[in-house]
């Protein structure tokens, strides 16, 4: 079954991601999801976990893809890196896109590879002209090789660069304008970064270029403190979505309408019903928006 080309997609559910809540797919949840036919809008996977030749990961993903729309989320391409993109890795991403026909494909505004070393973290970039030009070139290359538009995710950051000459928002808007890529709005990242840099998350979201947004991410963060004892939030994806992030999300949905919304929970992964309950909470907010819109229309 693995050598088959996407012609087997005839038996698949449609690729398009609905404006509903989805969940990050974890191998330990797959059997329960398939057995119960869980009512979830879509699933999202980290592309790098499916770059082996075969075996259980692909078998599971094929079964999920037959029944659910799928979103493919890369975590290791190092689009913000100083060197050229890893051509082999880009080809692997293109192959996964061809094989699974995901409804969305996204990556991060971050770097993770320098020289020959991969650092396995989403590391920050300075917001200056040189970096902007490089990131745009890389995104052009990605969209060219993969053959489809991508979404770029806003980062969560712990430090700022003294050398930055523009704001993160200006930087993201200009990337979307120059490359035509969409944006993945991670509202937990917005909250984490705004707390960490003592800015207003409400203002950031009010100015976000929402017309470019194709997906929203929500996830949990861990509280810490910095050198001066100020709050420092860590983008840990190890717990429920924080109440403050839910509030920001409701505001965005009320103002801009429904968008595909992913719940990320990558560490301290809970039992499936706990994660599913988070998707249901997001679905209620999305449905509430629809009801409100309907009432206005009548």
């Amino acid at each position: 079954m693995f050598s088959e080309t996407p012609s087997n997609s005839k038996s698949r559910t449609a690729a398009e991601i609905p404006a509903r809540a989805g969940a990050g797919l974890k191998p330990e949840h797959v059997a329960e999801i398939l057995e119960t036919g869980a009512d979830v809008g879509f699933f999202e996977v980290h592309a790098e976990n499916y770059m082996g030749a075969g075996g259980p990961p692909h078998r599971q993903l094929e079964a999920i893809r037959e029944r659910y729309p799928l979103s493919l989320h890369g975590v290791g391409l190092s689009i913000g890196g100083e060197g050229p993109l890893d051509g082999d890795h880009l080809k692997r991403l293109a192959e996964l896109n061809r094989r699974y026909e995901p409804g969305l494909f996204s990556e991060h505004l971050a770097w993770s590879t320098h020289d020959t070393t991969y650092y396995n973290d989403l590391l920050p970039v300075p917001y200056d002209e040189a970096t902007l030009a490089r990131v745009c070139d890389h995104i052009d290359e990605v969209q060219d090789v993969v053959g489809r538009p991508m979404l770029l995710e806003n980062p969560s950051t712990y430090v700022a660069f003294e050398q930055s000459t523009m704001s993160e928002l200006e930087f993201l808007k200009e990337i979307a304008r120059r490359t035509g890529c969409g944006l993945l709005l991670d509202i937990n990242n917005v909250y984490v970064s705004c707390i960490n840099h003592q800015r207003s998350a409400e203002d950031y979201l009010a100015a976000f270029p929402m017309s470019a947004v194709g997906e929203i991410h929500l996830g949990g963060h861990a509280p810490d403190t910095d050198d001066a004892g100020r709050p420092l939030l860590i983008d840990a994806h190890d717990r429920e979505v924080d109440a403050a992030v839910w509030t920001l999300y409701e505001t965005v949905v009320r103002r801009h309408g429904s968008l595909p919304t992913l719940i990320e929970w990558d560490n301290e992964v809970p039992e499936w019903p706990v994660l599913q309950a988070e998707t249901q909470a997001a679905d209620r907010i999305l449905a509430g928006h629809d009801t409100a819109a309907l009432r206005q229309a009548v």
Binding site: G55, Y118, N120, L123, E162, D227, L232
Partner: protein, 260 residues
Amino acid sequence: MAGSDAAPKIGAPEFANALLNADAPSPPGLIGPDGKAAPKRFAVYRNNVIVSLCEALGQTYPAVRTLLGDDYFNALARAFVTDHPPSSPVLIWYGGAFADFVEAFPPLQDYPYLADVARAEWAWLQAYHAEDAAPLDPAVLGSIDPEKLASARFVRHPATSRVSSEWPLADLLRANRFSPGDGAHIDLGAAQSLLITRPDLDVDVVPLRPGGAAFVDALLSGAGLGEAAGLGADASAEFSLSDCLSDCLGAGAFKGLETN
């Protein structure tokens, strides 16, 4: 956004160097909201890199982790990660050098079986992610002209490998990975080599009988059945061709059979 020309330019080299070097200072020009240097903030990145890579290693080597205990394993993993950071963003391929690192790690010289346990766990991971293929149907053997059997060559299944050891590898893996806490006694004097493969969804770990390692090695390197049987018999007086062949075929070690 001042972005003054006087601001230090932090490139990836400066940032990267300070990530894996715990003694390196936080690069200048990385600041907190007050515009001042913020080493504790930079340390979040350093911690993310090291801890996530140690976790990746722990997922690949659960038996080594159990044998050493979490604290010792994490210290060892930290040393490995710093010396051998990954070169690919595909972490399912990370850590192949761990067995050799463990073998050469001076404080672990009294535990020489650890490196072989790591080699077996690496082979398990390769089998898990290997290309899928239907294993050879053992019945095919019966359809072969007996005169051609001795020169017949088996085609390796993509998931198949063999790990040899002077230690009881199968027992060590069972007690520390597959059935922890079963309390079975492990005789450290009993050498066990393993055949590892994955005919369908589950990885099979098969202890090889006497002479089996030499026999399997010969088959996997393309020798004919007759020659491989001879090498198995040379390796052990207890070698049984029918038992060893039946173990291999039962495990699904091959995907084809070629006759001349």
